[in-house]
C-alpha cells in the first residue's frame, strides 16, 4: 500500500505537467457529473431551497406516489417510448435506404451536391425547425392548408389536433437527422470490400441481389451499434425538439408530451424540484434497465454486435 502510494507520488512528480493538463476537464466532470449524484436523494424529500439537501424533511415515496397516481405518468412514459422507438426505426430504415440509393449514384458531383442539401437541416436549431414547421402548418397562413384548400378539402387546425402529431414529429425528426445518418451509413457501405461485389457479379447477381445479400448484411454491425446507442436515450425525449415545437400547448399533450417536458414543467413552471427529481430518477432507472436488457439480448443473438 505504502509502496503504491510512493509510486503514485513518483508518477505525479515525473509527469505532473501532463496531469495538470487534465485538471480542468476532470474538475468539470467531477462537479457536473459526480457531484450531481447526491441530489438524486431529494426525490425522497420535501425539498426546500432554503433548507437545502441536508435539512429538508424526508418523506419516503410520496413524490413517486404523486406522479404514479396521476394518469399522466402512463401517458408521458408511453409517449416517450413510442416516439423514440419510431424515431429509431423509421430513421434507420430511411437513412439506410437513402444510403443504398446514394451508393448507386454515378455522378460524384451530383452526389456531393445533394448530400450537402440533405445534411443542411442537421445544423438548424429546433427553434428554427419549429418556425419551418409553423410556416407549413399554420392554420391561417400555412402552406399545407393552402394546398388542402386547392384540393377542395377542409383546412385542418393542426396545432389543435393531437392525432396528427406523432407522424408530424417522426417526419420532422427524420428530416432533420437523415443527412447525418446518411454520412455514417454511406461510409459503412464504402468501407465494404469490393471483392465481395466482384464475386457476386461474376456469379451473375443483379444490382438488387448485391444489395440484398452483400450490402445489407455487412451494414448490420453499424446499424446495431447506432441503434443500441440510440436505445440508451430511449427514456429521454429530446426536450429541445418537443418543447421548441409544442411548447405549453396542452391540446397536444395526449400524443406528444414526454417525460422530459413533464420534468421541465414540474421544475420550472410548478417549481417543485423534489417531484421533478422523482420522475427523473424513474426515468434514469428504467432507461438503464432498458439499455442493459437490450444489450444482453443482442449479445445472445450475436456477441459481436453488443455494446458492452
Amino acid at each position: 500500500m505504502k509502496n503504491k502510494k510512493g509510486s503514485m507520488l513518483r508518477e505525479m512528480k515525473q509527469n505532473g505537467y501532463a496531469y495538470l493538463l487534465v485538471i480542468p476537464a476532470a474538475v468539470y466532470t467531477l462537479i457536473f457529473g459526480y457531484f450531481t449524484l447526491p441530489y438524486m436523494l431529494i426525490a425522497f424529500q420535501r425539498f426546500n431551497f432554503k433548507t437545502g439537501i441536508f435539512n429538508s424533511p424526508w418523506i419516503g415515496l410520496d413524490n413517486f406516489e404523486f406522479f404514479f397516481s396521476s394518469p399522466r405518468a402512463w401517458e408521458v412514459t408511453f409517449n416517450t417510448l413510442k416516439l423514440n422507438v419510431l424515431f429509431i426505426v423509421v430513421g434507420t430504415i430511411a437513412a439506410m435506404a437513402l444510403a443504398i440509393l446514394f451508393n448507386e449514384l454515378r455522378s460524384k458531383l451530383f452526389s456531393r451536391l445533394t448530400q450537402s442539401t440533405i445534411l443542411f437541416p442537421h445544423f438548424l436549431s429546433w427553434v428554427i425547425v419549429s418556425y419551418i414547421l409553423y410556416s407549413l402548418l399554420s392554420t391561417d397562413y400555412g402552406i399545407v392548408n393552402q394546398m388542402l384548400a386547392k384540393l377542395n378539402l377542409n383546412p385542418v387546425n393542426w396545432y389543435a389536433s393531437p392525432q396528427y402529431w406523432t407522424s408530424i414529429l417522426v417526419i420532422t425528426a427524420v428530416w432533420k437527422d437523415i443527412g447525418m445518418n446518411l454520412v455514417i451509413y454511406l461510409a459503412a457501405i464504402t468501407g465494404i470490400d469490393d471483392t465481395y461485389y466482384e464475386a457476386g457479379r461474376i456469379d451473375g447477381a443483379t444490382r438488387w441481389q448485391l444489395i440484398r445479400h452483400i450490402t445489407i448484411p455487412l451494414m448490420m454491425p453499424t446499424i446495431m451499434i447506432l441503434s443500441l446507442l440510440a436505445l440508451g436515450k430511449i427514456m429521454y425525449g429530446s426536450f429541445d425538439m418537443i418543447y421548441a415545437i409544442i411548447k405549453d400547448n396542452g391540446l397536444l399533450y395526449p400524443t406528444v408530451d414526454v417525460i422530459d417536458t413533464y420534468v421541465f414543467r414540474s421544475l420550472r413552471t410548478i417549481g417543485n424540484p423534489a417531484q421533478a427529481m422523482a420522475v427523473g430518477l424513474y426515468q434514469s432507472v428504467v432507461g438503464f434497465i432498458l439499455v442493459w436488457g437490450s444489450n444482453r439480448i443482442v449479445r445472445k443473438i450475436n456477441p459481436d454486435h453488443a455494446l458492452f
Binding site: A26, Y28, I118, F120, S125
Partner: protein, 292 residues
C-alpha cells in the same frame, strides 16, 4: 434490354434523390420568402413561396431595434468564448489520455466514460448550477453542459493515439515538458480533429437555448435562439421590439414576417460557414464511427 433498364434505374434514382434533397431545402426557402413578404399580402394570401408583394419592412424593423443586436452580441460572445475554452479544455485532456507514458491514463478515461453512460438528469444539473451561482449571468450560458463534452474528448484522444509515442520521447530528450509538447507538437498535428470539435462545440453553442430557458430570466442576456423562441410564444415581444425601435411606414405591424426574418438572421452564420461546417462535420463523424 438490360442496359436500358439499368439506365432507367439510374435516371429514376437521381430524380428521387434530387427530389429528397429539395425537400430538405424548400421549407427553409419558404421561411426566407415569407420574411420578404408584406404583412398585407400574408394576411390575404397566406405564406407563399413566391410572394405576391415584396417588402423589406421586417428587416427594417429588426435592424432598427436593440433587442436583436443585443441578442446577436450575446450569442456571438457565448459562442466564441465558450468554444475557445471548450476546445482548449478538451484538447489538453485529450493529450494526457493519449500519451502512452502516463500511467493513469486508462483510469482517467474510465472516470470520464462513466459520466457518459449514467445520466442523473435535469434536476441535479439545475440545482448544481444554482449552487455555483450560474444563474442570470453570461457564464450561465457558457459553463453548464456545453463547455466540456466527454464524447469530444474521446474523439481527440483517439486521434492523438495514432501519433507515434517516439515523438514525445524525442521532445523529452530535448528537455520539453508535457505542456510544451501538447501545445507545440500535438495540437498542430491534430488540426483536423481540433477543427472538428471546434465545429461541434461552436454549433452547440450557437444553437443552444436550453441553458437560457433553464437559467436566464434577464431579457438582456437572451441569446438569439431563445429570443426567437420567445418571439413565437409571446406576441408582446414583437410589440416591444417595435416600441424600442424605429416605426415602420406601414401602419400594420409586420408580425409574421418579423418572426421569419429573425429566424433567417439567426441561421445567417450557419449558412455563411456551411462549406467549412460540412467538411469537418463529415470528417468528425467518420473519425468517431470508424473507431467503433
Amino acid at each position: 434490354m438490360n442496359v436500358n433498364r439499368s439506365r432507367l434505374f439510374d435516371i429514376a434514382n437521381a430524380a428521387l434523390i434530387g427530389f429528397i434533397s429539395l425537400l430538405c431545402l424548400v421549407p427553409m426557402l419558404l421561411v426566407l420568402m415569407v420574411s420578404f413578404t408584406s404583412e398585407a399580402s400574408i394576411q390575404q394570401n397566406g405564406y407563399q413561396l413566391l410572394p405576391s408583394e415584396f417588402s423589406l419592412d421586417a428587416y427594417k424593423l429588426l435592424l432598427g431595434t436593440s433587442p436583436l443586436y443585443r441578442s446577436y452580441l450575446v450569442s456571438l460572445f457565448v459562442t466564441i468564448v465558450g468554444t475557445l475554452i471548450a476546445v482548449l479544455i478538451t484538447g489538453m485532456a485529450g493529450y494526457t489520455l493519449a500519451a502512452k507514458h502516463i500511467r493513469y491514463r486508462n483510469g482517467l478515461a474510465m472516470f470520464f466514460f462513466i459520466t457518459m453512460v449514467f445520466n442523473t438528469g435535469l434536476v441535479p444539473w439545475y440545482l448544481i448550477n444554482l449552487e455555483l451561482g450560474l444563474r442570470n449571468n453570461i457564464w450561465a450560458l457558457i459553463v453548464p453542459s456545453l463547455i466540456f463534452n466527454p464524447f469530444n474528448l474521446f474523439l481527440v484522444r483517439n486521434y492523438m493515439s495514432q501519433i507515434p509515442g517516439s515523438l514525445i520521447e524525442a521532445a523529452k530528450i530535448d528537455g520539453a515538458n508535457d505542456i510544451f509538447i501538447a501545445f507545440r507538437i500535438y495540437f498542430p498535428l491534430c488540426m483536423p480533429v481540433l477543427a472538428t470539435i471546434t465545429l461541434f462545440y461552436g454549433i452547440g453553442y450557437w444553437n443552444n437555448w436550453f441553458n437560457a430557458i433553464m437559467l436566464v430570466d434577464n431579457q438582456n442576456l437572451y441569446p438569439l435562439q431563445y429570443l426567437l423562441f420567445k418571439l413565437n410564444s409571446e406576441i408582446n415581444m414583437i410589440q416591444q421590439m417595435q416600441s424600442s425601435g424605429v416605426l415602420v411606414s406601414d401602419a400594420v405591424l409586420p408580425q409574421e414576417s418579423v418572426k421569419m426574418a429573425t429566424a433567417i438572421l439567426t441561421i445567417g452564420p450557419v449558412i455563411f460557414f456551411y462549406p467549412f461546417l460540412q467538411r469537418y462535420f463529415i470528417k468528425g463523424l467518420l473519425i468517431g464511427s470508424l473507431k467503433e
